[in-house]
């Protein structure tokens, strides 16, 4: 077994998975799963998404909310559009469970991990953004009649630039 420096391991990760950006932890009491759209990542230029998921960091309350990922652009103006369709219910989501963009087709459902700590790597990739544009990826929860009272989630985006100077940043 090779014994790499941590910086080399990080390069291996980036070359294989793309650049990883993580948000802070968003709580359900005030921020996410409130039947609204919540921006989570800024996107500058065009990027290829290798993976996009949220991981529950605190167990969710028993509320039958759903979620999907969307993209909105301010430059040029592009109204919020679905990257995926709604997931199943996030009711009682346990710590370590993930809400994963499957990618590939725009209308593919967002997938919830069957078991905390185990999930499939997204099978498809997606291209989002506009050359020279400024946009954002959001978690939209307006598709359910319920809001989530308690719980928390952190979001992870792995991407590679597709246009010169393209990059992504966390919003919170």
């Amino acid at each position: 077994m090779r014994n790499y420096a941590n910086s080399t391991v990080e390069v291996i990760e980036a070359m294989q998975n793309g650049l990883r950006v993580e948000t802070g932890i968003a709580v359900c009491t005030t921020t996410i799963f409130k039947q609204t759209s919540v921006p989570i990542f800024n996107v500058y230029g065009v990027i290829r998404i290798e993976a996009l998921f949220g991981e529950a960091t605190t167990v969710f309350s028993a509320d039958a909310a759903v979620g999907r990922y969307t993209f909105t652009s301010t430059t040029p103006v592009i109204a919020e559009a679905n990257m995926s369709v709604d997931s199943g219910s996030v009711s009682g989501l346990t710590k370590g469970s993930r809400l994963t963009l499957q990618g590939d087709l725009v209308g593919t459902a967002t997938v919830i991990t069957a078991t905390a700590g185990i999930s499939l790597w997204p099978l498809g990739k997606m291209i989002v953004g506009v050359n020279g544009g400024i946009g954002k990826i959001s978690l939209n929860n307006d598709g359910a009649a319920a809001t989530v009272a308690t719980g928390a989630m952190q979001f992870v985006l792995c991407y590679t630039p597709l246009s010169d100077g393209a990059y992504a940043t966390k919003i919170f």
Binding site: M1, R2, V9, E55, T94, K95, T115, G117, L120, W121
Partner: protein, 169 residues
């Protein structure tokens, strides 16, 4: 044809396949006896690109099936299947025969090679949690192995800061 140094070839392998960790050759009579056995420690969240066991010495003529699973102590997550029980059985497995985690959808059946040296590859999986501590294990069923040894191999890349894997044996 380019003439790369061995270290460059190693790095190409690690960039493409991930960082490889191997167990020792584990005695089948001990570790394929229809009880839960942990084979790799997982710290943090990782992307698993390859996960398999490979016969090192001849196994016994017992119709053993095998599945891979994951357990976490931090946070507490009870043992859960990464695969279903293998299609094909680990009977009289000759050196080079592999039992492979095929990945993709959780609980897809593991696959035992029809013969040594050729096996399916894996669709990656995400295992572990940010800041978590867990183990990847195996559970055999149907019959216990009486002899032989098997080595397990994982190729992974970190998916949270500082994540890594060590062999449990």
């Amino acid at each position: 044809m380019k003439n790369y140094s061995q270290s460059t070839q190693d790095l190409v392998s690690d960039v493409r396949n991930g960082i490889e960790v191997e167990t020792t050759a584990m005695a089948n009579a001990t570790y394929m006896a229809q009880t839960q056995q942990e084979i790799f420690n997982v710290f943090g969240r990782i992307k698993v690109n390859i996960l398999y066991g490979e016969a090192v010495t001849d196994g016994s003529a017992n119709a053993t099936t095998l599945k891979f699973n994951f357990t976490s102590t931090t946070p507490v997550i009870a043992v859960a299947n990464m695969t279903a029980a293998s299609v094909g059985v680990w009977t009289s497995a000759v050196p080079g025969t592999r039992v492979v985690c095929l990945g993709g959808a959780v609980a897809t059946a593991a696959l035992v090679d029809a013969g040594p040296g050729i096996s399916g590859a894996m669709t990656p999986m995400i295992i572990g949690t940010v800041g978590g501590i867990g183990t990847i294990g195996i559970l055999t069923a149907a019959a216990s192995q009486a002899s032989g040894t098997t080595k397990f191999v994982i190729d992974y890349v970190p998916l949270s800061d500082g994540a890594y894997v060590t062999a449990a044996h």
